[in-house]
Amino acid sequence: MATTATSVGRFGPAVRRQGAVVRRNRRTGLLFVLPGLLAMVALVVYPLGYGVLISFFKTNLVNQWTWIGLDNYANALQNPAFVKSLGTTVVFAVGTVAGTLLIGMALALLLNQEFRGRTFFRVVLILPWVLPEVVVALLWRWMYNPLYGIVSYYGSTLGLGTEWLEHAGSAKVAVILTSVWKGFPLVMVLLLAGLQGIGKELYEAAAMDGAGAIRSFRHVTLPGLAPVLLITLILESVWWFKHFTIVWLLTGGGPVDSTKVVSISIYQTAFENFQWGRSAAMAVVVFVICLVASAVYRRLIRDEQ
């Protein structure tokens, strides 16, 4: 005890100085982090918290705030239209993600080869991703137009009909097709980056072992791409699950409600029916679904690693 007291007495000023430096560094660090933290609270935490809060009220957001507990959640989950729109969203998201992954992968494999004009094709194929969603939707809507649209024209010559957005089945295909067109470049770029990270020696070794193109793809490319593929899958799934713009502008959720994805239900509940509490509850349900899906994917990635 005495020794300790002596040591402290001897080294006291130095330790205190060191402590002060650590505290100052912490404060400086905090100051550096603070703007980002504040921005995150303002842009992410506050809106999210506010959305959750609203979901417990019957409110017009201005002068009516009636606490109704979990009623909005009960109403949403018992509402057949909302449940149906969740199902429609799953079909839309699965179709779009599968399409973007297939096309993105095929083009990434192609662009990973050496050939003349590769840079040109890389630039051209990225264009749909650069275009704003509104432009993409209006462009395709024009192409689907039964009177003068190019898709309708070739659709009719191939016996596929002209009124793509007029029937439940073809309207679903049409919105997925448009979304795949918009979404494949991002997948392509991500997978191309992943492909370029796979060492050539692995392919050489596989070739020496007698593996053909398909077996090389299965045993070298796919395992090498797995982490990128899973991250892409998470990003794409969450993105398309909550997608709104293209579907809304192409079909408005119709015919009837055949393409009414959950984001359209939420939008209409909030901005057409002004039922803010209920729409917030629906949004929270979607948020939880996305959260669970991303947790499952993360778990898959961890297992893979």
């Binding site: 201005v62 002068n63 009177l147 007029e166 119709g254 015919p255």
Partner: protein, 432 residues
């Protein structure tokens, strides 16, 4: 020293940011100039926008201390945007309002009743029907700006050529539409159709179907005691849904893709000579001739046809302007409204856009009785008062979903009507 400087920089940055984020609405500049923010749905349309901006320019010339700043918002987005602005306490001084939205606007508490601001004498100068529809619980929610009573817009030249008169019944309408659906280049595909149906599943389509349903003798919503009741489940409503289905699937008088046809597309079909009739108001005359000047004088209006034994019906399609109760310049805003609604401006507005005046002095002017508008003026006499229920806009979408299910043959007219009635009842129950 460093910390003090950092603190000062942060404080300055915070203050600057807050200053930039705050505010909104209108204010007075140092030189005493007032800025009036006017959120308008018509200012983004053609030819309406040019005329409305012209009014504002003339007003500013007459009142150099008042600056009018427009916030143009398409009609489909304006109510959502207004509600969002109301939640942020950042309302414009003047904003577009209508009988469909006035209940919601009133429940948000954002409207300044105009009776006192405009004065009783001035208020009495409005036409009675628009004035009644602009009131809620006896208070004037907005100053009516114009009406666009729903009727049948038709190509008079094509009717004359085919020896047709505007149809009085839906059976006549179907016959006429078939006659007007023609293949002009012998490729066995019609190039011009009888009827440009607005078949989109939104308020634009639904708001046209509802008066049609009324011409069959039933109401989408009516007051019953303290509550509401719907007529969607009546045989009359079934007939209306059936009419839509038959026009597309049996008579084939509607251009392909009716679900993609909203108001703008229907106008384009009329302007490009691909359709001979549409259900709309007189404003479409201006919109069509703006796209195709050669159609000037070839368009006319008529009241909607009706089912035998029933009267025609019409929706006023009225828009007006409210003054925000948060506005700091209510008097200046009232002055602007009175300027816009002067007889001279009402007639100029009517001449350019075809929209009907709401001030009695202008409405009585012979200009408004010109041949192409006559049918719409007649239709206006049969305009019904929109039910003042906060969920009313939802019924338009319910109606639209109903006719889409019949047209796409997903449901029979009976099923569609029953489904619409069920959805409407849910809305009634939820509203309490």
């Amino acid at each position: 020293m460093f910390r003090k400087t950092l603190a000062a920089v942060l404080a300055l940055a915070t203050t600057t940011t807050l200053t930039a984020c705050g505010g909104g609405g209108s204010g007075a500049a140092d030189d005493g100039t007032i800025t009036l923010k006017v959120m308008s749905a018509t200012v983004v349309e053609k030819p309406e926008g040019d005329v409305e901006r012209g009014f504002a320019d003339a007003f500013m010339k007459e009142n150099p201390n008042i600056k009018v700043e427009f916030i143009g918002t398409p009609m489909n987005d304006i109510y959502a945007r207004l509600t969002t602005m109301a939640t942020g306490g950042d309302l414009p001084d003047v904003f577009t309002n209508s009988p469909e939205f006035s209940t919601q606007a009133s429940s948000l508490g954002i409207v300044e009743p105009l009776d006192d601001l405009l004065g009783a004498d001035y208020v009495n100068g409005f036409e009675k029907v628009p004035l009644d529809q602009a009131r809620l619980d006896g208070k004037l929610q907005f100053a009516p700006f114009f009406t666009i009573p729903t009727g049948l817009l038709y190509r008079k030249d094509l009717f004359d050529k085919a020896g047709l008169q505007p149809p009085k019944t839906w059976d006549e309408f179907r016959t006429d539409a078939k006659k007007l659906t023609v293949d002009t280049n012998d490729d066995d595909v019609p190039d011009r159709y009888g009827f440009a149906m607005v078949g989109s599943n939104n308020g634009s389509g639904g708001s046209r179907f509802i008066p049609i349903m009324r011409t069959f003798g039933t109401q989408e919503l009516r007051k019953e005691g303290d509550s509401w009741a719907t007529g969607f489940d009546t045989p009359e409503a079934v007939s209306a849904f059936q009419l839509y289905g038959d026009l597309v699937n049996v008579d084939k008088v509607v251009p392909p893709g009716p679900f993609q046809t909203s108001y703008a597309e229907a106008v384009a079909l009329m302007a490009s000579d691909k359709a001979a009739m549409m259900v709309t108001g007189p404003h479409s005359i201006g919109a069509i001739t703006a796209q195709s000047p050669q159609l000037e004088g070839k368009l006319a209006g008529a009241p909607l046809p009706s089912a035998p034994g029933h009267e025609t019906a019409s929706v006023l399609g009225m828009l007006g302007f409210s003054i925000s109760n948060q506005s700091k310049h209510k008097d200046a805003a009232a002055k602007y409204l009175q300027f816009v609604l002067s007889k001279q401006n009402q007639l100029a507005w009517n001449a350019k856009t075809g929209r009907l005046p709401v001030r009695s002095d202008a409405a009585a002017d012979p200009q408004v009785q010109r041949p192409e508008l006559k049918g719409f003026v007649e239709a206006q006499k049969y305009a019904f008062q929109l039910p003042q229920a906060p969920f009313y806009p939802r019924l338009q979408v319910i109606a639209a979903e109903g006719y889409q299910s019949v047209i796409s043959q997903k449901a029979s007219a009976q099923q569609a009507a029953a489904d619409a009635a069920k959805k409407t009842q849910t809305e009634i129950d939820q509203a309490g």
